[in-house]
Symmetry: C2
């Protein structure tokens, strides 16, 4: 399906909330699986956070996965004036959480940037708490509201559109997550299709707030429809 | 001051949110400091939780401080159907949090009982996240609301009154925490004095929701006033 999109001349951007690996490693994995994808075709929370940090002159303390740290290589991290939170997994220790908390509570106006707000996810050895749970813990302790830079944040989709160089009304999001993918893209002015695969649940079709522009059974069908309408 | 209250014939109950030690050890510490206090004179979250567990036939998975575990000695903990959360300190590991989460999310109707909802506290080596932060993390991940059994929960003050054997209108709470002590006791129908020591902050006197029945400079002054009015 990706190949057919590219062959048609349409532009393509992959939007992921992956924060346990750099885009380089994420793309390496996809290429190993046979997908013809480059790093420039991937929008992910960490680069979006880096742009935000640079724009606002913020120096982060990172509480993220070891494998994500290289994404912040060019960011000044001395004398931190904000905390960037990702899915730190094994780095979510009592000591590390207290350290991030102390930095935040010591700021006149605490700035907490979260790379996502997922509740949990499944790995081969079972369900794991996602970054959103730890975000809520720090929000409550510091009485602040985190700034979320992953999907469904508007800024995230704006970044993807900027990479594509197209206005929102000329872009279509295809995703399996009714809130993060469909809702986020629509709030940004894009149309959005929900695939009935992956995270999709029949109950999504009764979602109280988000309604996709259309449902498709899978990615291949989404591509069929889009190419027919060109 | 405690001695003067007891000598007057008034009944006394200490209400603490301590969840890092059994009442036995808590009382041992106070006695070593010269206070004439017995275990029966202490109301604490863990015994309140035990009463609730027994009443509702709940079998807890404990995520609490090692030193608190003996308080749950007589509770059936096999095949857990709820999670009891305390200030687990070093036991707040990534693995332990995921374990508690998995148990909750696997329940048809998750039951999360929290021994408090404090945001943070200070120890000699710095500020620490309190149980409330971890409660918020699990609440968000499981989409549940925890039942809080420590102060300011109404059931907590009802337990203390039951121990004393007096109705709320014949009891006075003296405390330094505007919300947990004063607000909690008043919601239970008691009168409450705030001492201008300990956690007290001048800004408490402009609290948007809670207004003590009176302010006193310290515990000794509170006892003076109470004994004068007998």
């Amino acid at each position: 399906s990706l190949h057919r999109i590219k062959a048609s001349g349409l532009k393509l951007q992959l939007c992921t909330n992956e924060t346990q690996a750099t885009r380089e490693n994420f793309v390496k994995k996809l290429r190993a699986l046979g997908f013809d994808i480059s790093v420039a075709e991937v929008t992910a929370p960490a680069p979006a956070a880096c742009r935000l940090l640079k724009e606002r002159g913020l120096r982060p303390h990172l509480l993220v996965h070891d494998d994500l740290v290289p994404e912040f290589a060019e960011i000044d991290k001395t004398n931190p004036n904000c905390v960037v939170l990702g899915d730190a997994a094994e780095n979510f220790t009592y000591a590390n959480l207290n350290e991030a908390f102390r930095l935040l509570i010591g700021m006149e106006k605490p700035v907490l940037i979260s790379l996502g707000k997922g509740r949990y996810y499944k790995e081969t050895d079972g369900l794991k708490l996602d970054v959103g749970a730890y975000m809520k813990a720090l929000e409550y302790a510091c009485d602040v509201q985190a700034e979320v830079v992953g999907k469904p944040a508007k800024t995230f989709f704006e970044s993807a559109l900027a990479e594509l160089g197209v206005p929102p009304e000329q872009a279509i999001m295809i995703g399996d997550d009714i809130v993060s993918d469909v809702g986020g893209a629509q709030q940004c002015g894009m149309r959005a299709l929900q695939v009935r695969t992956g995270k999709y649940r029949p109950s999504d079709e009764n979602h109280p707030e988000v309604k996709p522009d259309a449902y498709v059974n899978n990615l291949a069908e989404a591509v069929d429809i889009i190419l027919q309408q060109l």
